[in-house]
């Protein structure tokens, strides 16, 4: 039963992170800044802001997992 729960949580985590990845370019649509690239950086109205959101998300995950001590441990030989 607990292995089923673990598998479910892992799948949920993967789906969540897939959505986060998709949100990087999709986030610019929500921000209403999508103007279209004309070849000059900046003309797209900030399509890179999704990456900033990713950095904040990743930073949050690192802090949260370290705080809760739920960091995945690689197998011993890989940690040398």
């Amino acid at each position: 039963m607990s292995s089923m729960k673990t598998k479910f949580l892992q799948s949920k985590d993967k789906a969540l992170n897939f959505a986060v990845g998709a949100g990087i370019p999709a986030g610019t649509v929500l921000s209403g800044t999508a103007g279209g690239c004309t070849g000059v950086c900046g003309s797209c109205g900030g399509t890179c802001l999704g990456g900033l959101a990713l950095a904040v998300y990743l930073g949050g995950r690192v802090i949260f997992k370290r705080h809760n001590k739920t960091v995945l441990q690689a197998e011993p030989s890989a940690n040398k």
Binding site: A15, F18, G21, P25, V29, L52, L54
Partner: protein
């Protein structure tokens, strides 16, 4: 102690050739197309863009595209199917640059992202939205594509009249600092944000499953599980699971670093 100099020089030469091939002021590919074949390769180095032709199929603008661009993209994809992500692993200076840069910072200050997030899922989520969104919204999320982003950086360095805007600055900080200097392997940008790399790995994933492209294989009888390949892989594609070393085709760029670092010669490519 293994002599790494010849291997490093060979790798560096490949990436410098890739730089000379695509980026200004050298642009050997464009010069070859224009000078020898008398062809215009379209907006360069977007000639290999995987998204614009795909989006234009649905917007009926496909046949208006520059034919060199369409053929370059198709040939590029076919090469990825046959050889895997050869561009990332042998020619892309953008990834090699941050990989090299990351050696400046000691390992203890770098982040091993795999411990915190399933990297491949973020990578392919990004690719999916990157490829599909323009079909509905018509905007071009190019900010992360190395063929746009790195080209912009190089242009700035070589004095092109390009505004150093805030978006470019943000992308640059992510690319060089967070995903370069402070990421283990130094290829955080390649793993999270580069759609070109994700596209190549996508073809490699399919072709490796179909037995077309050769993938990294580990000889279990020779492997001593020392973990050197895991530690040295710039893409963090190698892992030890259930007591055996595995390479993920979703992330591997076939750069050869793992096989070079293997003290037992247990890593090779095969179908």
């Amino acid at each position: 102690m293994k002599n790494t100099l010849p291997f490093t020089l060979k790798r560096t030469a490949g990436y410098l050739f890739g730089f000379a091939l695509l980026y200004a002021p050298f642009e050997l590919y464009r010069r070859f197309m224009e000078g020898v074949l008398a062809l215009q390769p379209g907006f360069f180095p977007h000639a290999f863009c995987p998204r614009i032709p795909t989006a234009e199929i649905f917007t009926s603008g496909f046949f208006d595209l520059n034919s060199v661009m369409v053929w370059s993209t198709i040939v590029f994809w076919l090469l990825c199917l046959v050889f895997g992500p050869f561009f990332c692993g042998r020619l892309c200076i953008a990834g090699f640059f941050t990989e090299t840069l990351s050696h400046i910072v000691p390992d203890k200050y770098k982040i091993e992202w795999e411990k915190y997030v399933p990297v491949a899922h973020i990578r392919y989520g990004m690719l999916l939205a990157y490829m599909l969104l323009p079909l509905w919204y018509g905007f071009y999320p190019c900010a992360y594509c190395n063929f746009y982003f790195f080209d912009s950086l190089v242009s700035v360095i070589f004095g092109a009249a390009l505004d150093f805007t805030l978006p470019l600055l943000i992308s640059g900080v992510l690319y060089m600092v967070l995903f370069g200097l402070f990421t283990k392997g130094g290829r955080g940008y390649c793993r999270f944000l580069c759609p070109q790399g994700a596209m190549q790995s996508f073809w490699f994933y399919i072709s490796a499953r179909l037995g077309i492209a050769a993938r990294i294989k580990v000889d279990e009888s020779a492997c001593v599980k020392c973990g050197l390949c895991v530690k040295s892989c710039p893409m963090r594609a190698m892992s030890i699971k259930n007591g055996s070393v595995q390479s993920s085709t979703a992330l591997c760029i076939k750069c050869g670093v793992c096989s070079h670092n293997c003290p037992r010669g247990a890593i090779h490519t095969g179908r």
